[in-house]
Each structure stands twice: as structure tokens, then as C-alpha cells.
Symmetry: C2
Subunit: 150 residues, 2 copies
Amino acid sequence: MSTSSRWPPPPPLIGALLRVPAHAILRRIIRELNAAGFDELRLPHMAVLQFPGPDGVRPGALAERAGISKQAMNQLLQSLETAGYIERSAAREDGRTRVVRFTRRGRGAYSKISDILHDIEREWAAELGARQFADLKALLTRVWQSPLAW
Amino acid sequence: MSTSSRWPPPPPLIGALLRVPAHAILRRIIRELNAAGFDELRLPHMAVLQFPGPDGVRPGALAERAGISKQAMNQLLQSLETAGYIERSAAREDGRTRVVRFTRRGRGAYSKISDILHDIEREWAAELGARQFADLKALLTRVWQSPLAW
DNA sequence: CCTTTTAGTAAATCAACTTTACTATCGGGA
DNA sequence: TCCCGATAGTAAAGTTGATTTACTAAAAGG
């Protein structure tokens, strides 16, 4: 045998089954955002823009839910602020904290993401059938609600 | 209204439903690999080690399937070679090409990953029920086989 | 042969993230 | 009231990862 590759290949495990389409979705979001005029947005920015969005949230909370350090989040927020997607205003009650707010442009980008995701949902539903797609989402939602996903 | 957050929150879309558990799995793999003595392995190395593994594959092919440049893949391969996980041997027929091979240590790491993934599959099956978990995998496999995932 | 294409690599540059360190504010006691 | 520890945020340096640019060697095809 000329190589050690096995045949037939083993079926993909759950890790790959989730990872591959998740990455495909991310790449498509970036691509379509850039094409729609939001062309400063890069993959790392998705850590900020991801569900349920940064509007009205503190920087530290964003860092925690994205799983990165506060400092890394701060750099992302700075670049997003420079590019005009968000602004950070001093909080009302606690002088230490600040609050992230969408600008008009930021809200536009976020709603574009939402549009893309809804497009993707429609495509998947067309591919699998509406019923089966709903089943898929229901199962993933059960995982989401369990400790397994975190 | 003190913030613009909406209530109740919208249900997660398919993007988040895939992304969150996929990231959780990746983080767990890194954590358990490091704990098992494979402590040089970092998240970027997973681009090499991911299904179906680099054994007997050319560097360029690995780059393509990981979605990164050949040069970036080359740096990953170099660090994996230095750490003793793989080796690159000159190919038999074509003098330009090389072939990546697991070392014993590399094979150990790869089979550890496989163990972890099978553990995760068992946990998910326990959470959802074996039947429903099988349905989930079947649906994701249909997506995998369609152009949607790529 | 000679040219073009392909595979791989290397170095420089660029981007992202972590580590370390600092300021400002809050809150809870002596 | 005044410390003093803890918390939120930020900033700068250092590290790591990835892209860009550029090169060598082998193959393919006239």
C-alpha cells in the first residue's frame, strides 16, 4: 500500500459536522458584508457583532461572552469605533463603566448580518425540507440549553 | 426605556446554534490534549489535525482544505515537525512534492482527539437520546453533502 | 532545450491576541 | 471620613499567527 490512508473514510464526527458549516456561514457573512459596503469588517469583528449584538452592553460583558480578554475586546471596540460602527458612552450610574452603542452604520451592518442569516435559514430549509430543518434547529436548541454547548 | 435591548430576545439563528457548540468542542479538545501531555498544541494546529488528518497528504492539499495559504500551513507544519508530531518526507514520484506523515507522538495526539470526540458524541447522545442524536447527525450529514456547507 | 506551470519554502510585513501595567471608581469597613 | 481592596476600563509592549512578496526546484509540453 502506497500510503496509510484508510478506505472508505470514516464518517465525520459531530465536531466536524458542526464546524464545517459554521465556518462556511462565517466566511459568507464577511464576504457579503464587505460586498455591501461594510468593508472594514473582518472575521475577528464577528466576536463583537455576534448574537445578540453589543447594543447597550458593557465592554467587559462583551469580552466574557466572546471568550476573549477584556483587552482584546477593547482593541476590537476601538477599531469598530474608529470605523464608525459603535460608540462608547460613559455610563450613568457607575463612573467606571461604559456602554457600547450602535451608530446608524453599526445598526445597518447588524441588520445586514441578520438578513444574511435569514437567507441561509431559507436555503437550508429548502435543502432539507421545512419540517426537517425545524427539527434540526430544535435539536440544536436543546443542546444550546444544556451545559454541553458551553 | 433605559436601553434599546429588546425583550424577549429573539431565538438563536442557525449560525449561532452551530457556532457556539462547535467552539465549545474545539476549546475542550485543546484543553484535554494539553492535559494529556500534548502541551504544545494550540488552536491553530487544529487546522492540520482536523478530520480526516494529515497522514499521507501533501502540504498544499492541507492548506486548501483548511482554507489558509500554503505558507501559513507551512509554518504550522514546521512547528508540528519541531514538536515531533509529524515529519515531511520527499515524495516518491514527483520531486517537487512532499508528504506529511504522523510520527508516533502525532498518531497519539490524533487518536486522543478521536477519543475526545467519541466522548462528546456519547454525552450528546445521553442528553438528546440516542435516536434523536442519530437524527441530528443525519441531518448535519445531509447539509455536509450539499453545497451549503462549503 | 526552453518556457510555463506547479509545489514548496523563506523572509518581511501585517494583524490579532496576551501579558503586564496603570488609572479611576466603587464599596466596605476601621 | 478615610483607607484599602476589588472592579471596570484602558494602554503599551511583546508574542504569536497569517498574509504578502519573492525565490528555488521540478515537471510538463512544445
